[in-house]
């Protein structure tokens, strides 16, 4: 038995140890992920599963039962945060084409799968993980149906290890109700998309075909339609990327027309304006990046900050995501998106639910992930202080499926390397 009283900095050396099988975290401030907290919690983990969550003060620990006991001394325990709808792991350097693996040729590409392009060894991933983000949805871009995403750990020897849910959904870029734009040096103004109906029809035709294929007893094998099958007769989700009212209402109609079982909106900037219809339609939203500018001049300056609260008030199921400028490296700031949502209306626990349990529910992986509850996977982290505030998000321990992960990365290594340079110089 190894007994570790206090973890201050867990170095990479931890990983070289044989991974313990029976781990007990004691005396932590537990954020369950479902809105509840426990001030002095005890979390027992065996073979990667959480087997007990109890109050430290009311429980006597039998030290013999555990091979590793870690006293957290009041540090905060969180379920692993989630970065849905991200190209994390699919690209390394935005400006270098050779590193971009998220957008392939073609309009309807449901068969194109991110899972096998996911780079488990990505340097970017290593810097995101150390802020508490442990799960991502590797998501393709481009075309009308970009491809199939997969839900992945930010850890693993290879993509196979890292997979949580293979091909969890297809991503459909709903046509824009406005069009135009030219190219960037000579932009043409945007206007109402006159081909909107036509483009919608195109999508409908494809879905009709796919639906027929899915229901057929014997059909000639078709790569694309095969990839759509699970959307109709399985658990595969359809992620609609849409923001404005016109699009959102049309998506609702579309969902009804094709009886889509698991529809999700990604974006949903205008969802708060049609809250009741959204709630009734029971379509969850992965909300547009909280740290973004208002869409229109007249929008309240803090509207994007307030959107989570506005959706929550109207009873719409939602989680946060951060697609946008530099989304891969920015995935490490997802905790602070939740922090801002907290500053603008949500409670702390509601805010962190929006990047943990709610995300996992929407992705359909909540049975095992998203909260720290008995029976779930031990995919969690410990932070010295509240993880939604920049100043106190200091990750001291990471467990992915019960396995310890390094809390350092190549950036901390460079930090230490050059710190040493200056220290030596001073001598």
């Amino acid at each position: 038995m190894k007994f570790i009283a206090i973890i201050l900095v867990v170095g990479s050396s931890f990983l070289t140890w044989a991974q313990p099988k029976r781990i007990l975290l004691t005396n932590g401030f537990l954020h369950v992920g479902n809105g509840e907290t426990m001030e002095s919690a005890l979390v027992g983990i065996v073979d990667g599963k959480i087997i007990s969550v109890k109050n430290s003060l009311a429980t006597t620990v039998n030290k013999q039962e555990w091979d590793t006991i870690i006293n957290l001394n009041g540090q905060h325990i969180y379920p692993g945060f989630v970065a849905p709808n991200s190209t994390l792991g699919l690209t390394e350097i935005d400006a270098v084409r050779a590193t971009r693996d998220f957008d392939d040729v073609g309009e309807f590409n449901p068969h194109v799968r991110t899972q096998i392009a996911y780079n488990a060894e990505s340097k970017v991933i290593s810097t995101v993980k150390t802020n508490g983000v442990l799960i991502t949805q590797a998501t393709p871009r481009g075309g009308i149906i970009s491809g199939s995403s997969s839900v992945m750990f930010l850890s693993g020897w290879n993509w196979e290890d890292a997979t949580i849910q293979k091909d969890d959904g297809i991503h459909l870029n709903w046509p824009s109700s406005t069009e135009g734009g030219g190219w960037w040096a000579e932009p043409a103004p945007k206007k109402r998309n006159e081909n909107y109906e036509e483009e919608k029809q195109k999508i409908k035709s494809f879905f009709k075909l796919a639906q027929a294929y899915a229901n057929a007893k014997e059909a000639k094998f078709d790569l694309r339609l095969e990839a759509m099958k699970a959307c109709f007769i399985g658990n595969k989700r359809v992620f609609f990327h849409a923001d404005d009212i016109q699009q959102l209402l049309d998506v609702m109609d579309f969902v009804k027309e094709f009886s889509i079982k698991y529809p999700v909106i990604i974006g949903g900037y205008d969802a708060h304006l049609i809250g009741k219809r959204f709630k009734d339609a029971n379509i969850p939203v992965m909300l547009t990046r909280v740290h973004s500018l208002p869409e229109m001049d007249e929008d309240a300056v803090d509207l994007p900050y307030k959107l989570p609260y506005l959706l929550q008030q109207q009873g719409i199921k939602f989680c946060l995501q951060n697609t946008g400028d530099m989304e891969t490296m920015n995935a490490r700031n997802i905790p602070f998106l939740a922090g801002t949502a907290m500053a603008y209306g949500l409670t702390e626990e509601e805010a962190l639910r929006a990047i943990s349990l709610s995300s996992c529910e929407i992705l359909g992986i909540d049975k095992l992930y998203g909260s720290i509850q008995v029976g779930k996977s031990a995919t969690l982290f410990v932070s010295e202080g509240p993880a939604l505030d920049m100043r106190t998000n200091k990750v001291s321990l990471i467990l992915v499926n019960g396995k310890f992960e390094s809390v350092t990365n190549f950036q901390t290594e460079l930090y230490n390397k050059y710190k040493k340079k200056y220290e030596e110089k001073q001598k």
């Binding site: 400006a95 970017v124 103004p189 300056v301 100043r391 930090y415």
Partner: protein
């Protein structure tokens, strides 16, 4: 008087002589020597209107005009009773009769040098050698369009380039080019648009400004130095200097920009406006500017779909409402205005909009002056055109009634004494009831509406029951051409069955028709009609309504969240605040801060008497700090953030192109930002000068510039400069490697040293006979850098290039002031400290390009530990409003203390910008640039409650709600007006959504981009 007359006749004589040069094909066509127009109402000039006047014309000129005029015998006479004539309008902005400009020469490879062959200026956009008169030829079709608006003259020029050459004054008659060309060189035209030039430089508005200024200096040099290199452009431009200059602008701020150039070169410009000049009425009045205003008021949007109409920016709605008042709002301030048809689509729209302007309060005399006398005076042609005074050209327009106050019909256009009929007016009204006799059978004909669109009905006998003698109405097709009338109707009565076609002449008084026709059986008959109703009194034309209740107001700025009036400087007392002083006192609790006259008057914990009339803000539980200063920002810039056309563009200056209409100013105020350095982009090694501004929402661009701010310039290194990510075609411009970048700097600074030497020698030796050296705006800035009068903020990423630039500077004996981005600063922080350079960096950005591979979020802390002054900046409109959060990240990454972290967005950028003597901390005597936070400003929970700049409260979160509601009310009010306009069937246009575009370091061209940015 006699003397003048004789000169005038000489002129006349000479014209007559010239017109005889062209041989006639056939015998000579003579015209009457004298023409007299009688009984006419004449606008002789904008303020004199004579009724029942006689106008005597000879040889294309007005000979006499007045009430009692002796008309010579043998005169050609016209009776213009009831008609009004108005002097022909003068169009100042036109390219009539000139060949169409070529399309811009586009090639994927950049064109660095001029493609124009010959000894012309080095830049294709400077083309003073272009003469419109050489290219002019009569364009009858366009001329007629102008005539229908009332124009008789235009100054036409080739609308291409920044310096566009000369315009020619031409008549708008439809024949004889020699007669129509009145004056070859009437004016010069400038603009900020480079036009069809295919050269890469200039690619931004600030580049256009710099190029124009340099060209003006070159002109001066050329005119003063006999030994200067030959230039056909400058030679011609020099000759043109006596001519007035019309400066074409595309936005109100461009007028203010051009005014600065005018002042620098002691010139005066007239401005072709864009329609939103009402925003700067005050400045125009102070500058005594003259503006040529377009009448192309925006059409209403189609607002029937609320999903779409809610996306129309309030600024567009407000402009739609205010634009027709533009002429009135300016002329009522005493600003001299002219009017132009520029942008109006048709004569109908021109007149409709002119009426709209008059109905909004523009005086008829001002409108007419703006179309006639004022433009004539500006081009020095008021001796021959502009009014209908004796001796002037007989060019005027004939209307059916007063065209300014009533819906008149434009009938004739007279061009230098030649009549052109635009619309024939029916001689008399046919409207009324007539008794018609067709072969002894009587019918009653009723004609309604107008001669142009007559409607007819005829009463027929009912056939089925002849004893009843009942009648029914049948429709009659009627056409009237002059005094001919055609009637056609179908008859089904006791007399006739089938179509009856009639044609007749109308008697002079309109009461009798007499003519022939055919019956259903084809029989040719005589018929007649007699009016049975009394001839109506002549119907007065509809009179224009002057709308004095118009209440639209310009906001400051005129968009969402603009102020009704600009907030004033107030005395403000913040009580019980937790004050982050950034001074030795550190963070003081329960402190009082007093601001007065825009400065901080008191900071401390003593109980102090409250000044009278002060605003008292209880800041209990809240945190008060100095305003955030963003060392690296690209907001509030118009038309281009990069002048990437050349490797060195030190001559350009962001201060020239600051705009006050960017909503991001307000959004950042709401994030606690009070000042920013607006930097040039990073497209070239030596970019352009910065604008140091305060985010004074509602103020003019000049008021936003920090007074007496030090001079800064952006330099750049690495991938952007070597165009590494610009695609395969951008491999032409030097440099393409980091090696080349170093040499660009050495070359620039070496040339600057030589330049300085030349000037020093010249000034010392005073060899005036040789003339001064050429003034070079680019090298002057480089000399300023060498002399430490201009400070460098350099975009940089990897340690090699950082080290290199410090070596360049050391060898040239100056210092780099700031490295911005500086993501590998942590590797060479010791060298930076030794050199004395500061670092302004991102909190945690990386992975966006190859050269940021080694960027680490510990960078800020590590540089600070080595004694480097470190700031955290945004370089991004979105992140700019969360700089407090970004600063807080250094507490996480590296464990910086909160006070030091906070200084990285306040005091430290102030130091880097050499503004820390007046900004960056809460200290008595410093500028009252203050932010009140709901919480510790580094906390994720912190929200801005109050932002104050120079003692003015410019943002208050408590007010935000009511401002949002006001936005909504104003929108609803204008949308309702638009709906009314839509319902009336006024022309409308679909809403066009503008993309959300923002400038980043690597944005090229004049427009922002939605592309992923590379910084």
């Amino acid at each position: 008087m006699k003397y003048k007359l004789s000169i005038f006749f000489c002129f006349l004589f000479s014209v007559t002589i010239f017109s005889q040069y062209a041989p006639e094909n056939g015998v000579k066509v003579s015209t009457s020597e004298f023409i007299a127009l009688r009984n006419v109402t004449v606008y002789v000039n904008p303020t004199t209107k004579i009724d029942n006047a006689t106008v005597l014309i000879s040889n294309g000129k007005i000979v006499e005009i007045g009430l009692k005029i002796t008309v010579p015998t043998g005169v050609l006479e016209y009776d213009f009773k009831g008609k009004t004539i108005v002097p022909a309008f003068v169009e100042l902005y036109s390219n009539i009769g000139l060949p169409a400009s070529n399309e811009r020469n586009y090639s994927q490879r950049p064109q660095i040098e001029t493609s124009k062959k010959g000894a012309y200026y080095w830049n294709e956009a400077i083309r003073p050698e272009v003469e419109a008169s050489i290219l002019f030829d009569v364009d009858a079709k366009s001329a007629e369009n102008f005539s229908k608006m009332g124009f008789g003259f235009a100054v036409t020029h080739v609308q291409d380039g920044i310096v566009r050459g000369t315009g020619a004054l031409v008549g708008l008659g439809n024949e004889n080019t020699r007669k129509q060309l009145i004056s070859s060189n009437s004016a010069q035209y400038y603009s900020f648009a480079k036009g069809t030039s295919g050269q890469t430089y200039p690619s931004s508005q600030m580049g256009s400004i710099a190029l124009l200024r340099q060209a003006l200096y070159d002109l001066k040099y050329y005119s003063e130095n006999k030994n200067a290199e030959q230039s056909l452009s400058l030679e011609k431009w020099n000759e043109n200097q006596k001519l007035p200059v019309f400066f074409k602008t595309e936005d109100k701020w461009e007028i203010l920009r051009a005014l600065k150039i005018a002042k620098e070169f002691n010139q005066s410009y007239y401005f072709i406006g864009s329609g939103n000049e009402y925003v700067i009425a005050k400045q125009l009045k102070d500058e005594k500017a003259t503006v040529v205003l377009p009448l192309n008021f925006p059409e209403a949007y189609d607002v029937n779909d609320p999903y779409l109409s809610r996306q129309i920016p309030l600024s567009d709605l407000k402009h739609w409402e205010l634009a027709p008042s533009n002429p009135y709002l300016l002329s009522s301030e005493g600003i001299q205005i002219c009017l132009t048809s520029l942008g109006t689509k048709s004569p109908e729209q021109f007149w409709k909009n002119l009426h709209k302007a008059i109905s909004r309060g523009l005086k008829v005399s001002d409108a007419l002056a703006g179309l006639t006398v004022n433009p004539a005076k500006l081009i020095g042609a008021d001796g021959i055109i502009g009014t209908l005074d004796k001796g002037k050209l007989a060019s005027f327009t004939v209307f059916s009634s007063d065209p300014f106050l009533t819906e008149a019909t434009l009938l004739e256009s007279w061009n230098q004494g030649t009549q052109q009929i635009i619309k024939t007016q029916a001689l008399v009204s046919i409207i009324g009831t007539y008794s018609i006799n067709i072969e002894g059978k009587n019918y009653q004909l009723e004609l309604t509406e107008s001669n142009e669109k007559p409607q007819g009905k005829i009463q027929l006998l009912k056939t089925n029951n002849s004893s009843m003698k009942d009648t029914i109405n049948a429709k009659v097709a009627v056409t009237v051409i002059q005094n001919d009338i055609n009637l056609q109707f179908n008859c089904d009565d006791d007399n006739y069955k089938g179509s009856i076609n009639l044609h007749a002449k109308i008697s002079k008084n309109g009461s009798v028709f007499e003519g022939d026709g055919t019956l259903p059986n084809g029989k040719w008959i005589l018929w007649s009609g007699i009016k049975t109703t009394k001839p109506e009194d002549k119907k007065e034309p509809t009179t224009l309504k002057i709308d004095t209740t118009f209440k639209a107001k310009n906001w400051f700025p005129n968009l969402a969240f603009g102020y009704d009036s600009i907030p004033e400087v107030r005395t403000v007392v913040f009580k019980n605040a937790t004050v982050w002083t950034n001074e030795n006192d550190g963070i003081i609790k329960d402190a009082t801060v007093i601001t007065e006259n825009g400065k901080i008057k008191y900071v401390g914990t003593n109980s102090i008497a409250t000044p009278t009339k002060a605003i008292i803000i209880d800041a209990k539980g809240k945190h008060l700090t100095a305003g955030i200063i963003d060392e690296h920002s690209h907001i509030a810039i118009s038309k281009g953030v990069n002048e990437g056309g050349q490797a060195i563009s030190a001559e350009v200056n962001i201060s020239d192109v600051v705009t006050a209409d960017d909503i991001n100013i307000y959004r950042q105020l709401a994030g606690g930002v009070t000042a920013a350095q607006l930097l040039h982009g990073s497209a070239n090694p030596i970019g352009g000068q910065s604008a140091l501004i305060k985010l004074k929402w509602g103020h003019s661009p000049d008021e936003m510039l920090i007074p007496n701010a030090p001079m800064f310039i952006k330099c750049a290194l690495g991938e952007n400069v070597k165009q590494a990510n610009w695609g395969d075609y951008n491999t032409v411009r030097f440099p393409q490697t980091r090696m080349g970048v170093e040499q660009v700097f050495y070359d620039g600074f070496t040339r600057a040293k030589t330049y300085k030497q030349e000037w020093d020698n010249y000034l010392k030796n005073l060899k005036k006979q040789e003339g001064s050296p050429r003034k070079d705006l680019e090298l002057e800035v480089l000399v300023n850098i060498l002399e430490s009068k201009c400070f460098i903020t350099c975009h940089s990423y990897v340690q090699s290039e950082i080290n290199m630039l410090m070596h360049v500077a050391d060898s040239m004996d100056f210092k780099i002031n700031t490295f911005t981005h500086i993501l590998e600063g942590y590797k060479v922080a010791d060298k930076m400290k030794t050199h004395g350079v500061g670092g302004s960096t991102f909190a945690d950005w990386w992975a966006y390009k190859f050269e940021v591979n080694d960027a680490i979020p510990y960078n800020a802390k590590m540089m600070a530990d080595q004694g480097v002054v470190v700031a955290i900046n945004s370089d991004d409109a979105e992140m700019g409003r969360r700089l407090n959060q970004e600063a807080a990240k250094s507490v996480k990454y590296g464990g910086m203390s909160e006070e030091e972290a906070w200084k990285m967005v306040t005091l430290n950028p102030a130091k880097l910008l050499h503004l820390d003597d007046r900004m960056g901390s809460i200290k008595q005597g410093k500028d009252a640039d203050i932010v009140l936070w709901s919480d510790n400003p580094l906390s994720i929970k912190a929200k801005v409650e109050v932002t104050m700049i120079d003692g003015k409260i410019l943002y208050e979160s408590a007010n935000a709600k009511s401002l949002e509601e006001r936005n909504t009310t104003e929108r609803a009010r204008i949308i309702n007006k638009m709906l009314e306009s839509n319902e009336k069937g006024e022309p409308s246009k679909p809403f066009v959504k503008k993309g959300r575009k923002h400038y980043h370091c690597d944005t090229l061209g004049e427009e922002g981009t939605e592309e992923e940015n590379l910084h």
